[in-house]
Amino acid sequence: MSEKKWIIAGVVIFVTVVAFPFWFNLGKAAPAPELELTEKAKELNHGKCVMPTDYMQSEHMQLLDLWRHSVVRNAKRTFVNSSGQEFNMSLSNTCLECHSNKAEFCDRCHDYASVRPYCWDCHIDTPKETE
């Protein structure tokens, strides 16, 4: 029957589409990215970031957005974290000071999660801002 041919073709297409992630990744090892901390990041501030690691992992973009708003709109550059430490709100001078290895630190996760933040439209790898 000619209908049977079309139905089988349809089922084959259905299974191929549904199983796409399985055959696309076949034979490819895709381990989760490992981040490299620079010596400076390990030493400075006792190896601690401005906020706890858990928070930074999931919400650093939020923090950076608030920093940008504070600096650009309110001209307030001082960030006080939960344990009372003060930091200069600056991506280039504070974050990238320690995490100067953008390729091994920022990009690995961003590429893995297919995120293209527009931070780097203006901020380049490791510049020194002049104030």
Partner: protein
């Protein structure tokens, strides 16, 4: 209160609470929600889907019941409507394609109204069509976008889709409040809005409410739950995206892992998706496969030109008139009844043949 949607709503709320609480209790339930159920759900989905299709493929189509919305091809001087009254296989394919991508049959929706006079009017009612288009295309976009969690490296087309989807950089920013830095995907919000509309329409339009069943509400609530938890994870209580991808990549590469530090809300999301996959083959959601098997849409409307043979017709033993006459010829002649073939014993009177 309407029991039909209350039961569905309660079911989704209970599923939410159960998965949220259990995922927080320990590793065993994380393995259940993150590994076992997704695999089982996908298997159920594929096998169930194929068995439904097998069932439809085996069903006989006794009648040619094409729905037509235009003039059939008949006499050469009558202009036929090629697409809405498909005469050839090609026209059927075109009509089916347009139905699937544009939902043309929903566009025909009209609403009857009585006006002073009394006068009956039929108004074009396109909101269902708009809502359905928004819903289906938003859902498709969301689905394709999620390939970023299931592929490594992420295909360029998926990245392109993400860029287009986050084209509107919606940011709401105050000193203490921040929204929109993981770029806002418009498709997620459209999906949530469309599913809300499709629900409200079933509640507020009386005649639609009358025909709505629990099976109509449950998928709406479930998809609402999926979209809601997804949006929650992205914009409000942020989860560790890298850990999430580690889990999903583990699933598709058959090396399942449960990474550290994934919030319970993630397990709720993945549990809801598993429920949807399991529910799919047993429900009205099968219209994705069913549309291809609708005799009203997949048949040509050429009944005036070719005869449709009912496949149920089996070879019937018929007693023809010739056989009947053979059996009763003598008796018929005796009774003086006319017969087609004269009996052999009595030679016919008209023996003289004209030359």
């Amino acid at each position: 209160m309407n029991l039909k949607y209350m039961y569905s709503l309660l079911a989704v709320i209970v599923l939410f609470l159960v998965s949220y609480i259990l995922a927080g209790t320990g590793m065993a339930f994380k393995v259940l929600f993150g590994i076992i159920l997704p695999y089982a759900a996908l298997l159920t989905f594929i096998i169930g889907f194929i068995s439904r299709i097998r069932n439809w493929a085996r069903s006989a189509v006794p009648f040619r019941i094409t729905t037509t919305c235009g003039q059939q091809k008949s006499l050469p001087w009558i202009k036929p409507n090629a697409i809405d009254n498909p005469f050839s296989k090609g026209a059927v394919v075109i009509r089916m394609f347009l139905e699937i991508v544009l939902f043309r049959s929903l566009f025909r929706n009209t609403r009857l109204k009585m006006k002073a006079g009394p006068k009956i009017t039929y108004n074009l009612e396109i909101f269902l069509w708009v809502g359905a288009l928004a819903f289906h295309y938003a859902f498709l976009t969301v689905l394709l976008r999620h390939l970023r969690f299931f592929t490594e490296p992420v295909p360029i087309l998926v990245q392109l889709l993400e860029t287009v989807d986050s084209f509107f950089r919606i940011e709401i920013l105050y000193d203490i409040n921040q929204f929109g830095l993981p770029g806002v995907y418009i498709s997620g919000l459209v999906l949530l809005a469309a599913v809300t509309y499709l629900f409200l329409r079933r509640v507020f339009i009386p005649n639609v409410k009358y025909i709505s069943l629990a099976a109509d509400f449950f998928p709406l609530f479930l998809i609402f739950g999926i979209a809601f938890t997804g949006i929650l994870m992205r914009y409000v209580t942020k989860i560790d995206v890298v850990a999430a991808k580690e889990l999903t990549m583990g699933l598709v590469s058959f090396h399942p892992t449960i990474p550290e530090g994934l919030a319970s809300i993630f397990y709720v999301h993945i549990f809801f998706v598993s429920i949807l996959l399991v529910y799919f083959p047993f429900s009205k959601l099968m219209h994705i496969g069913g549309i291809f098997f609708s005799p009203t849409r997949n048949m040509t409307a050429d009944t005036r030109a070719t005869r449709h043979i009912n496949p149920w017709n089996y070879p019937v033993h018929v007693h023809t008139y010739e056989e009947y006459e053979d059996e009763f010829r003598e008796k018929m002649v005796e009774a003086g009844l006319p017969v087609v073939k004269q009996p052999v014993e009595t030679p016919p009177e008209e023996t003289e043949k004209k030359e």
